[in-house]
Amino acid sequence: MVVGVHLLADADLRLDAAPIDYVLLGVYFVVVLGIGALARRSVSSSLDFFLSGRSLPAWVTGLAFISANLGAVEIFGMTANGAQYGIPTMHYYWIGAIPAMVFLGLVMMPFYYGSKVRSVPEFLLRRFGKFAHLVNGLSFAAAQVLIAGVNLFALATVVNLLLGWPLWLSVVVAAVIVLAYTSLGGLKAAVYNEVMQFFVIVAMMLPLTFVGLHKVGGWDGLVAKITAASPGTASEQLNSWPGMNLTGIGNATLSVLGIVFGLGFVLSFGYWTTNFAEVQRAMSAKSMSAARRTPLIGAYPKTFIALIIIIPGMIAAVLVPELAAFKQGQDTGVTYNNAILLLIRDLLPNGMLGIAITGLLAAFMAGMAANVSSFNTVFTYDLWQAYVRKDKPDEYYLKVGRVVTALGCLVAIGTAFIASNFTNIMDYLQTLFGFFNAPLFATFLLGMFWKRMTPLAGGLGLIAGTASAITVDVLNRNDVLHLAGQGASFVAASAAFVVDIAVSVLVSLVTRPKPDSELVGLVWSLTPRDQLRHDDTGENAGWYRKPGVLAAGVLVVTLALNIVFW
């Protein structure tokens, strides 16, 4: 009987694609592979391959910056959150991503770009030496292949639903396409595809938002339907604060603290400022000015994307019968992760359907490509070149990069099957970020502003921080701590941050720091101010290109949206 229900539900999830939808999908992939082939012509050194020769304009890197993250994580995860928790999900953007992106552009980018490092771990190498470098290089490489697997799995799910291919075949085919364009064109091909994918995703989400709202009777209709469906929790779903349903923390004050400190300060700052998959996009910009503007330009679309991703999730939970029933506790064979697919099925006609399918596939592929293209850089520069085969000619590392890209895709196929065991992909990802990024952010912050911090402190802080995040997670999974929702990852990240700082300070006090002369360009107080400044003449001139002005603008917009959805 149970089996029967599931078969029925699976059949219902199938999107009714017509030949024209496949044609639109085909057009996109011709362009994607074409870009890979064209970009190959501009790859003549390893720097071309890994950082696109540091040649890209700010609007391209800015859109790629947010697109690299606009994979399975956001599309499935955030619509799922929207369907389940409602408005509090906005915190991921307006408390989390935006302030963090501003901080990256204003404070941290000058160090990254100015010190000419080629990756985030390489910054650690320069600042703290080999121990911290190796810890981070290895943990980052591991995290990226895991997350690439999540994206790959999401992609395979869509292909499976759409074409009815078995999951394993979809996984392999998708991995081969990503491999084709990233190993041909390197980062430039990945970045260009990310920008294209950004526009296709927006083209997919806009009609879902507007037609969805039209169908439920506008915003008021949505509010009325959510209130009618779940009278007890409607106000939690319709107000951003204190967001107790999102955090799973029963006390309003602690919940706000969890969101502001755990999600906002630690988790998001950690993710957006130290995750190389993002920062790599800014590093590939053509000048210091463009590098600083990259996250700031990206922040504007990011602010509004929250609306066209989370609101469709909320609409799906009242408009799609199966999902509405699931929310009432019935087993209908769908989960929150299906929200976006169900909405596409119920709203879009053939034609637009093809573009929506294209957008989904492109997003998951671009997400995976971002993971793979940052993995191959860190593996080649930070592990292979630093510890295994030093001092080879540049062509050698270019070749290694291409081979490692293939290996990364292979491992991702394996991790895709790990991801298939988690119901809410977002929980899984947040957990991973907590383990790796939160302590890294603590170490960066302390290391950039406290010259006394020692090499040993850098390495031990990272290990202690990651270990404490894992401890919190294990305690919660074994019911020692009781945190439902996503509060567990906020708490794990906060613990990692605090422990990292504490251990780093203690270890620094009893070990010997690096001499000041080796820290120029890496620590705030020892870096000449003009080394952190950028050229503001020529194509970098104009008030609207000033990082400060861009940052202030996006913060004002974010604050306004925060107040509107209070």
């Binding site: 639109l24 501009s42 020769g53 294209m196 053509k286 006609p349 034609g351």
Partner: protein
């Protein structure tokens, strides 16, 4: 410097204009000529293909205009890039 010339031939804005022109055209045709009552009922009366098609044509036009008004030029300051590569 064949590398620079290759970059000049390959302007992302042009690719975007082309992609959305094709998509916009197809959707507009579908919206005008092939929209069924069932499609309209799905979307509570909105002709999704038509509106999105017209929107995409507009986006394509904007990208084309941008390329036209600010053509890609080979940057004069190639020096910084070189010095970075040496670093």
């Amino acid at each position: 410097m064949a590398e620079k010339r290759a970059a000049g031939l390959f302007d992302l804005r042009g690719v975007l204009a082309l992609l959305f022109a094709v998509y916009g055209f197809v959707l507009t045709v579908l919206g005008v000529a092939f929209t069924t009552q069932a499609d309209l009922d799905k979307a509570a009366g909105v002709n999704v293909n038509l509106w999105m098609g017209l929107g995409m044509l507009a986006v394509a036009l904007l990208f084309a205009l941008w390329v036209r008004l600010r053509p890609l030029t080979v940057p004069e300051g190639e020096q910084p890039e070189q010095s970075e590569r040496d670093a």
